[in-house]
C-alpha cells in the first residue's frame, strides 16, 4: 500500500489540486441550480473565458495574474448578472428552454473566443516567480500547483464560511429550500438570485484564470469543464456547498488517478463512479435537503 501511494503520490496531489479547481467551478453551478432552478449549460464557457483572460493578461509577473484575477471576477459577475437577466423570462417554461438558451450562448461565446484567439490550445505559463518545482516528500512537484492548492483551499474555505456559517448564507440556503417562503418573509428574491448567479459565475471565471496553467484555454475545454462540473454536482448533491466539495474532491481523484493508472479506460471510471454513487445515494453524497 505504501509503495502504491509512493508511486502515485504526484497523481494523488494532482487530484487534490484538480478537485479544488472543480469545486471552485462547480459550486456556482450547483447553487444557481439549487436555488434558482436555472440550469446553466454556459458554465463551462465561463471557465474558458477566465482561462483566455489569464492567457491574454499574463506577462510573466505576479501582477499580471492578479490583474487577470480582478478582470476575471468582474467579467464573471457581469456575465452572471446577464445570464440571470436572460434566463428569468424562461423561468416558467421549464428546463429544456433554459438548456437550449444557455447552449446557444455557449456556441456564440466559444465561437467569438475562437475567432479572437485561434483554434489551438494555448499553453499558459504561471508567473515567473511561481514556476519550477519544490521537493515534496522526495518527489519533485510543480510549485504553481502547490500554490494553487493553497489559494483554492482559501477560496473553498471562504465560500464554505459564507454559505454555511454567515447570515447571508442562511438566507441563500433558505432560498434553496423554499423560495416562496423566503419571498413571503419579505426578502427581495431577485437580489439574492442576481447575487448568487454573479458570485457563482465570478468563481467559475476566477477558476479559469487560476486553472489556466493546469487546464489551459482551447476549443472543447468548455465542454470538458461543464461535464465535469455537472458530474460533480450530480455526485455531490444539487444545491449543496458541502456536496460540491465532496463531489469535486472525489471526481478530482478519479480523473487524475484514472488517467495515470488506466489511460484507455479512464472515461469509464468516471461513469462507474457516478453509477456507484447514484445507486447507493440517488440524491448525491451530501444532498441539500431539496427534492431533486
Amino acid at each position: 500500500m505504501y509503495g502504491w501511494l509512493d508511486g502515485n503520490f504526484v497523481s494523488v496531489i494532482d487530484g487534490v489540486a484538480f478537485g479544488l479547481l472543480l469545486f471552485t467551478i462547480a459550486v456556482g453551478l450547483s447553487l444557481v441550480f439549487g436555488m434558482m432552478d436555472v440550469l446553466n449549460l454556459a458554465h463551462g464557457t465561463l471557465y474558458l473565458a477566465g482561462a483566455y483572460i489569464a492567457y491574454a493578461l499574463s506577462d510573466g509577473s505576479l501582477w499580471g495574474l492578479l490583474l487577470a484575477l480582478a478582470a476575471g471576477a468582474l467579467v464573471g459577475a457581469c456575465g452572471g448578472a446577464a445570464l440571470t437577466f436572460l434566463t428569468q423570462p424562461l423561468a416558467r417554461r421549464g428546463h429544456l428552454d433554459q438548456a437550449v438558451l444557455t447552449l446557444g450562448i455557449t456556441f456564440i461565446v466559444a465561437d467569438l473566443l475562437a475567432a479572437a484567439f485561434g483554434g489551438e490550445v494555448l499553453p499558459t505559463d504561471p508567473p515567473r516567480s511561481l514556476r519550477g518545482t519544490v521537493d515534496l516528500l522526495g518527489h519533485a512537484y510543480p510549485l504553481y500547483r502547490l500554490v494553487f492548492i493553497g489559494v483554492a483551499t482559501g477560496l473553498a474555505t471562504a465560500v464554505y464560511l459564507l454559505f454555511e456559517r454567515s447570515p447571508l448564507g442562511a438566507l441563500v440556503r433558505a432560498t434553496v429550500a423554499d423560495r416562496d417562503m423566503v419571498r413571503a418573509l419579505g426578502v427581495d428574491i431577485r437580489k439574492v438570485l442576481y447575487g448568487v448567479f454573479a458570485l457563482g459565475a465570478a468563481l467559475a471565471v476566477a477558476g479559469g484564470v487560476l486553472g489556466a496553467p493546469i487546464l489551459g484555454p482551447g476549443p472543447g475545454v468548455d465542454e470538458t469543464v461543464l461535464v465535469l462540473s455537472l458530474v460533480v454536482v450530480v455526485v455531490g448533491g444539487l444545491g449543496s456547498v458541502r456536496g460540491a466539495l465532496v463531489g469535486a474532491l472525489l471526481i478530482g481523484q478519479v480523473q487524475t488517478l484514472g488517467v495515470a493508472l488506466l489511460p484507455e479506460y479512464a472515461p469509464f471510471l468516471l461513469f462507474g463512479t457516478m453509477l456507484a454513487v447514484l445507486v447507493v445515494r440517488p440524491h448525491g453524497l451530501v444532498p441539500s435537503g431539496v427534492g431533486a
Binding site: F33, L39, P89, L90, R93, H95, L96, D97, A99, V100, L101, L103, G104, I105, T106, F107, I108, V109, A110, D111, L112, A114, A115, E223, T224, L226, V227, L230, V231, V233, V234, L238, P263, E264, Y265, A266, P267, F268, L270, F271, M274, L275, L278, V279, P282, A292
Partner: protein, 325 residues
C-alpha cells in the same frame, strides 16, 4: 405524435405522397453536393427522431444521443472494415450494440428525471466521446476509422459507389424507420410514455412500471440512433470522435426543440433547418467560418421566438377563420 396515415385526410395523404416522391426524385434533379447534404440531413433527422422519442414523447430531455449515434457509427465502421460490407448486417449489428450500450447506461439515466436526466445523458455523451478518443485499439483515436468499403445494401446487390445510390439506400432505411415510429405513436406503449411525460406519479399509481417503460424507450431510441450512426458511416465512409461529440447531441436536441417536441414531422423539419444552417450558412462568404456563431444565435432566437417550435406555429386567427361579427 401526429395521427397515423390511415386516419389522415385525403389532403394529408396527398402531401405525404408528394414529399416521398420528391425525396425519391431528388437524385435525378440535384447535383452531387446537394445529394450528399440531403443524405446527411436524412441521417440527422433519424437522430432527431430518436431524441424526439425521449424528449418529445416521454418528456426526458436528452443531450446524450450522440453517444449511441457514435457507438452505432463505430460498430458499423468496424463491421464494414473487418467483417462484411453488407449494409443490412452493419445496421442490425449497430442497432444491437447501441441498444445494449443504451441498456447499460440507461439503467442509470432513467433513475433521474428532468434536469438531472439531462446532466446524466450529457455526461454519458461526453464519456462516449472521450472513449472514442482514448480507446485507441478499437477506435484508432483521433485519426478515426477510414478505408470503409462502399456499402452493399442487401446480400447479392452491387456495391453503391454513386452518391445518388447511397442517398436512395439512406432514404429507404429512413422511410421504413419513420413509418415504424409513426405507427408506434398510436400504440398503448406510446400512450403510456405520454402518460409518464404528463403525470408520472399517476401512471405509477395506476400500476405502470414507469421506470421500466422509460428504460425500454431509452433502449429503442438508442437503437434508432445507432442505425443513424451506421448510415452515417455508409454516407461518409469515415468516422472520427467528432461524430460522437457534444455538438451533434446539442444540434439533435435543438432540432427537436425547433421542430416542436412531440411531432415527428417537426423533428425532421427542425433537423433539416439545423443542418442547412450549419452546412450552408457556414460556407457563405460573408460569414465564412462563423457557422457556430450563427447556430448559437439560432438557438437563442428559437427559445424566445418559438416557444412551441415550428409545429406549434399557428397562423394568426384572422388568416385562418372568418371573424363572426
Amino acid at each position: 405524435m401526429s395521427p397515423s396515415g390511415s386516419e389522415g385526410s385525403a389532403a394529408r395523404r396527398l402531401s405525404v405522397t408528394a414529399v416521398v416522391l420528391g425525396l425519391a426524385a431528388a437524385p435525378f434533379l440535384l447535383g452531387p453536393y446537394a445529394i450528399g447534404t440531403l443524405s446527411r440531413i436524412l441521417v440527422f433527422a433519424l437522430l432527431a427522431i430518436s431524441v424526439n422519442l425521449l424528449t418529445g414523447l416521454t418528456g426526458l430531455p436528452t443531450l446524450g444521443q450522440s453517444a449511441y449515434f457514435g457507438v452505432g457509427a463505430y460498430t458499423a465502421a468496424i463491421v464494414a472494415t473487418r467483417l462484411t460490407d453488407v449494409g443490412m448486417f452493419q445496421l442490425l449489428i449497430a442497432a444491437a450494440v447501441s441498444a445494449l450500450v443504451a441498456a447499460v447506461t440507461g439503467w442509470l439515466a432513467v433513475r433521474a428525471r428532468g434536469v438531472v436526466f439531462l446532466m446524466l445523458t450529457l455526461a454519458i455523451g461526453e464519456i462516449a466521446y472521450s472513449a472514442a478518443v482514448n480507446w485507441k485499439s478499437l477506435t484508432n483515436g483521433t485519426d478515426g476509422v477510414s478505408g470503409i468499403p462502399p456499402v452493399v445494401p442487401l446480400p447479392g446487390m452491387p456495391a453503391l459507389e454513386l452518391d445518388g445510390l447511397v442517398y436512395l439506400y439512406v432514404l429507404a432505411v429512413f422511410l421504413a424507420l419513420f413509418a415504424a415510429v409513426s405507427r408506434l405513436g398510436s400504440t398503448p406503449f406510446a400512450l403510456a410514455l405520454r402518460g409518464i411525460r404528463d403525470n408520472e406519479r399517476r401512471m405509477s399509481a395506476i400500476g405502470y412500471p414507469t421506470r421500466r417503460y422509460a428504460l425500454a424507450v431509452y433502449c429503442g431510441a438508442g437503437a434508432l440512433a445507432g442505425v443513424a450512426g451506421g448510415l452515417w458511416v455508409s454516407v461518409q465512409r469515415f468516422v472520427s470522435p467528432g461524430d460522437a461529440g457534444f455538438e451533434i447531441a446539442a444540434l439533435a436536441l435543438l432540432a427537436v426543440v425547433i421542430g416542436g417536441s412531440g411531432s415527428l414531422w417537426g423533428a425532421c423539419a427542425g433537423a433539416a433547418l439545423v443542418w442547412l444552417t450549419r452546412d450552408y450558412l457556414g460556407h457563405l462568404e460573408a460569414v465564412a467560418g462563423r457557422g457556430p456563431l450563427l447556430l448559437g444565435v439560432f438557438f437563442v432566437i428559437a427559445v424566445y421566438a418559438l416557444p412551441h417550435g415550428l409545429a406549434g406555429v399557428r397562423l394568426p386567427p384572422r388568416l385562418t377563420r372568418k371573424r363572426t361579427a
